[in-house]
């Protein structure tokens, strides 16, 4: 049991171990050099990633089915380890001058551990625990620009909306439990066909169905809040804008991605019998989300807000992919999240570097950036092209497969809406490109000296954006793991 426990929980334990090491450093001494600590943490995160990649693929079930892991879940966790490492590297310039760098990492890594537990959750209780474990430190992280009022505002907004969505989730979970007597995702899934029937004894089949749909809608709303699906997106832009850039990046890529993994599992296991009901809901939400995100993004003046709305639109595209058949939906969503991680972190990485060194975050400030900082400009351009879905970047493949997966159901009106949204989104990405490459500026951002660590992170992002798509086996690998999903 002991060995099995360690083997199954390897990735979670590694993250927690780093937190504990940091805690001891904090307890041991106040007089550490921030740079040293940052270097150490990044090395530890690198080792963590390497260990995760080398981990033997195991299929483990722990805690009476509450926690399970398999090759696909290990891959998902590795993706997040990579993302966390990249964000941590990009945060270097910002944290260098920050008094509480250690605390930043403790909070960040607890969040990550929470997300890991959530992804691996075998029942809804574990899922909820993991989610909350990640949410509360995240709220604290949003407030990490301690002197800025905006940052505190972001934290308050985040905690309020999270609390509300958690309440919705809990309500949905409790309804489900009341109706079926179990929280176990596997059992709920196994009882696919007879689940409504079992309740029919109490409620009659229509009533049972209605109750189930109601529970689903509550759960869906909870999820929708976390992944900022319209109309539950209102917190997103303000929180993204107010939080420090690395935290925004983390929120938009990692926490969102993890909730997507959990969401797709719940959708395709527990709620598969309801597919007819939720298909239309998802279609509607996807269209709304894409349109709203894109239309609001059109007129933003701040890059962070633009990226916030663009990330809402991207969620809409992911929802398009989710409407497909289980295997293609799962594979294309996970693939897209990997692609999205590279592209979005590339864009946020540039914002992080520029913001940490100059404090400028407006699109107008980026005018003429290419003249002074060609490297940053190309990273930004490639990342934005990837977000817009332009070949040869991986974003093209990601979007293509999401829409292809969605088209498998034969709803071409819906796919046309998605394609139209790709065109709309191109406009605002090109606005940024135009500012960087074409517009003249009397006071452009000066030549920035990029530190080694952020430079590495940016190069990894660019490499990821350029290679993930062209190398077809990445998708095929994810697909093969999803095949028995």
């Amino acid at each position: 049991m002991g060995i099995g426990l360690i083997a199954g929980l390897q990735q979670e334990l590694a993250v927690v171990l780093i937190v504990i090491v940091l805690l001891f450093i904090k307890l041991g001494s106040d007089r550490y050099r921030t740079e040293t600590i940052l270097g150490l943490v990044n090395v530890l995160l690198g080792i963590n990633l390497a260990a995760g990649l080398m981990m033997a693929p195991t299929q483990t079930v722990l805690f009476g089915g509450g926690f399970h892991t398999n090759e696909l879940i290990i891959l998902e966790k590795n993706i997040f380890n990579l993302g966390t490492l990249l964000i941590s590297l990009q945060a270097y310039d910002w944290l260098k001058g920050h008094k509480l760098a250690l605390e930043f990492y403790m909070l960040l890594l607890s969040t990550l551990a929470g997300l890991f537990f959530m992804i691996s959750a075998g029942n809804l209780l574990m899922f909820y625990l993991g989610l909350e474990m990640s949410t509360i430190p995240l709220a604290a992280l949003s407030n990490f620009d301690l002197e800025k009022r905006q940052s505190s505002e972001a934290a308050v907004k985040f905690i309020m909306s999270s609390a509300f969505s958690s309440a919705l989730l809990l309500f949905g979970i409790s309804l489900l439990y009341g109706a079926t007597g179990t929280l176990d995702l596997g059992t709920l899934a196994a009882s696919d066909d007879n689940l409504p029937l079992r309740m029919a004894g109490i409620l009659g089949s229509t009533g049972a169905h209605a109750l189930l749909v109601f529970a689903f809608v509550l759960l869906l709303s909870g999820f929708a809040f976390k992944i900022s699906v319209v109309p539950f997106h209102l917190w997103t832009a303000d929180v993204y804008e107010g939080s420090p850039v690395p935290v925004t990046a983390y929120l938009s890529v990692i926490s969102k991605g993890a909730v997507f993994f959990a969401f797709i599992q719940v959708l395709y296991t527990t709620f598969r019998p309801l597919a007819r009901d939720w298909y239309n809901m998802l279609v509607l939400l996807a269209v709304l989300t894409m349109l709203t995100g894109n239309l609001f993004a059109l007129r933003q003046d701040k890059l962070k807000r633009l990226l916030a709305f663009s990330s809402i639109a991207q969620v809409g595209f992911i929802l398009v992919g989710m409407t497909g058949s289980p295997t293609t939906a799962n594979a294309s969503v996970i693939y897209f999240i990997l692609v999205y991680l590279f592209s979005n972190l590339g864009a946020f990485g540039v914002v992080a570097v520029v913001s940490a060194m100059t404090g400028k975050e407006g699109i107008d400030d980026y005018k003429g950036l290419y003249k002074t900082n060609p490297f940053l400009s190309w990273v930004m351009a490639i990342s934005l092209f990837s977000l817009a879905g332009i070949p040869p970047t991986a974003g093209f493949f990601g979007k293509f497969f999401l829409l292809m997966s969605g088209a498998g159901r034969g709803n071409y009106v819906f796919i046309s809406m998605a394609a139209l949204n790709m065109v709309i989104s191109l406009y605002y990405y090109l606005r940024v490109i135009k500012a960087i490459f074409m517009d003249a500026n009397d006071h452009p951002i000066g030549r920035l000296k990029i530190s080694l660590l952020p430079a590495i992170a940016l190069m990894v992002c660019v490499a990821g954006v350029l290679l993930t798509g062209l190398l077809g086996w990445v998708y095929d690998y994810i697909y093969s793991l999803s095949a028995n999903f």
Partner: protein, 496 residues
């Protein structure tokens, strides 16, 4: 023969250009790369002819297939028939000419050249592709370089034009994308053109997705009323980019209409033919009249491109053998002619710093060479016998006339009549700019074409004249491809 070289060479050249320093290195590397590419195209032509002469009658030659996304049955699949060989030759000539006319392009010359080469890469890949996914990949690849080329190095309302072009072409790609998905799911999960041609595609799928594909590709080739990006885009673009846009990029759309939409869904093509023909005729006539009103030389050529590309769509819409043949000839002829036209306009603009017809005049006295090629391009545009357009247009007209319907006849007559309008605007423009006394005394100090400009022009003129005098060479090259196309179009008759 390894066709992937056509994609690798521009890529390597583009990367090399990005790594070098200064204009001098950038242009020599680009020249070397595009010259190599042209030689390679001739090697391909030669080898292709050899294979065909040896009796190899397979549909596509030099095929290469590599599994790309096995889960979706997507392959990197390339191969050529006569039509693609001709298009590749056209691309190689125009890219080389484009590099030559941009010889002193600054600032940011290395970015300029590498974007141009990436554009070329997209075109080569597109013409080589036998897999719709690969094809779509290359089609979209060429959108952003165009945006950057126009937006950074353009003139006039460049940002507006660049954005308009990018958004309209993206909309075109989006439609193509929907059409591709429809084909994929409607035909047994394949993107392979050769395989799709074997599968009967149901009437419903054809009816729904043919318009998506045809309009999508049509936007690229200035299908009325979605042609509005053409005048703005072409006139704002720097010379090499205009040459590429009008010479090759518009042909991507035409090639897509032919090889994807019409080839794979011939029944729907027949059903929608009247609409295509009406739109094409409007484009021809409207484009010609719109050209008459233009004062800017680049706008003149841009609107006349709308009119001339109408002939391509007209030929495709008619679906007779001669008309299709004429459409393909027109693709190549218009590519060369319009590139030459834009090149000469660019040379004039570089020197006189104006493109307004009423401000130019008497250029023949100051720059005889440039004026001559300008006139040659103009004469080609109005279809002078001995030059390529004559061959192409007359083939289209003969093919169109073979269609017995009254409406088709009417369309043919209107299209023929537009030639007269073409003559009006071309002759008027050349008379006002080239002939007569030197209008502005400042013009008298201007220099004639430099060696690189002469080389570029001679290259393009040679192409025009060779096709015009000896069209049978090109026709022999195209014949098997068009025959196969017609056989396929005749075989299926689901809708009848």
């Amino acid at each position: 023969m390894n066709l992937s070289l056509f994609i690798i060479i521009p890529l390597v050249t583009a990367v090399a250009v990005m790594c070098c320093r200064g204009l001098r290195q950038a242009r020599w590397i680009s020249l070397a790369g595009s010259l190599g590419q042209l030689l390679l195209s001739f090697v391909l032509l030669f080898r292709f002819g050899q294979e065909r002469a040896a009796g190899n009658s397979s549909r596509m030659l030099f095929e290469y297939r590599h599994s790309w996304f096995a889960a979706w049955h997507i392959d990197y699949h390339i191969g050529v028939d006569g039509i693609s060989v001709a298009m590749i030759l056209l691309t190689a000539v125009i890219v080389l000419a484009g590099v030559l006319v941009s010889w002193n392009k600054g600032p940011w010359s290395k970015e300029f050249f590498s974007l141009l080469l990436i554009l070329a890469l997209g075109a080569y890949g597109f013409f080589l592709s036998l897999d719709l996914f690969t094809m779509f990949f290359f089609l979209e690849l060429s959108v952003i370089p165009k945006y950057l080329l126009i937006g950074i190095w353009g003139s006039g309302r460049k940002e507006y034009s660049a954005m308009k072009l990018a958004l309209m072409l993206m909309s075109g790609s989006a439609l193509v994308f929907i059409g591709l998905l429809g084909l994929y799911y409607g035909s047994g999960h394949s993107f392979d053109i050769l395989q799709l041609a074997q599968v009967p595609i149901s009437a419903g799928v054809q009816r729904t997705f043919f318009p998506c594909l045809f309009i999508g590709f049509g936007i690229f080739t200035a299908l009325f009323p979605l042609h509005t990006w053409v005048p703005d885009g072409h006139s704002s673009a720097p010379t090499a980019a205009s040459m590429f846009l009008a010479g090759i990029s518009m042909k991507l759309g035409a090639y897509g209409c032919l090889r994807v939409a019409t080839y794979l869904m011939p029944d729907a093509a027949r059903e929608y033919a009247p609409i295509i023909i009406v739109l094409a005729t409007i484009a021809i006539v409207y484009g010609a009249f719109a050209t008459m009103m233009q004062k800017d030389l680049k706008y003149i050529n841009a609107y006349s491109s709308v009119s001339h590309c109408g002939f391509i769509l007209l030929g495709i819409g008619m679906l007779t053998r001669a008309a299709i043949n004429g459409a393909v000839l027109q693709m190549i002829s218009h590519g060369l002619m319009t590139a030459l036209f834009f090149a000469s306009i660019g040379m004039i603009y570089d020197r006189a710093h104006t493109r307004m017809v009423d401000r130019l005049g008497g250029l023949l006295k100051v720059m005889p060479f440039i004026s001559t090629i300008f006139v040659i391009a103009g004469l080609c545009s109005l279809g002078l016998p001995g030059l390529s357009s004559f061959v192409a247009e007359i083939t289209v007209f003969i093919g169109s006339w073979q269609h017995p319907g009254t409406m088709y006849r009417l369309a043919t007559i209107l299209a023929c009549a537009s030639i007269v309008i073409t003559a009006v605007y071309i002759l008027r423009a050349s008379a006002q700019t080239v002939m007569g006394p030197v209008k502005d005394p400042q013009f008298s100090v201007l220099t004639d074409a430099a060696w690189y400009e002469r080389l570029a022009s001679i290259l393009l003129v040679a192409g025009i004249v060779v096709i015009g005098v000896a069209p049978f060479w090109l026709n022999d090259l195209l014949k098997p491809g068009i025959d196969a196309f017609m056989v396929h179009a005749g075989q299926t008759g689901l809708l009848k």
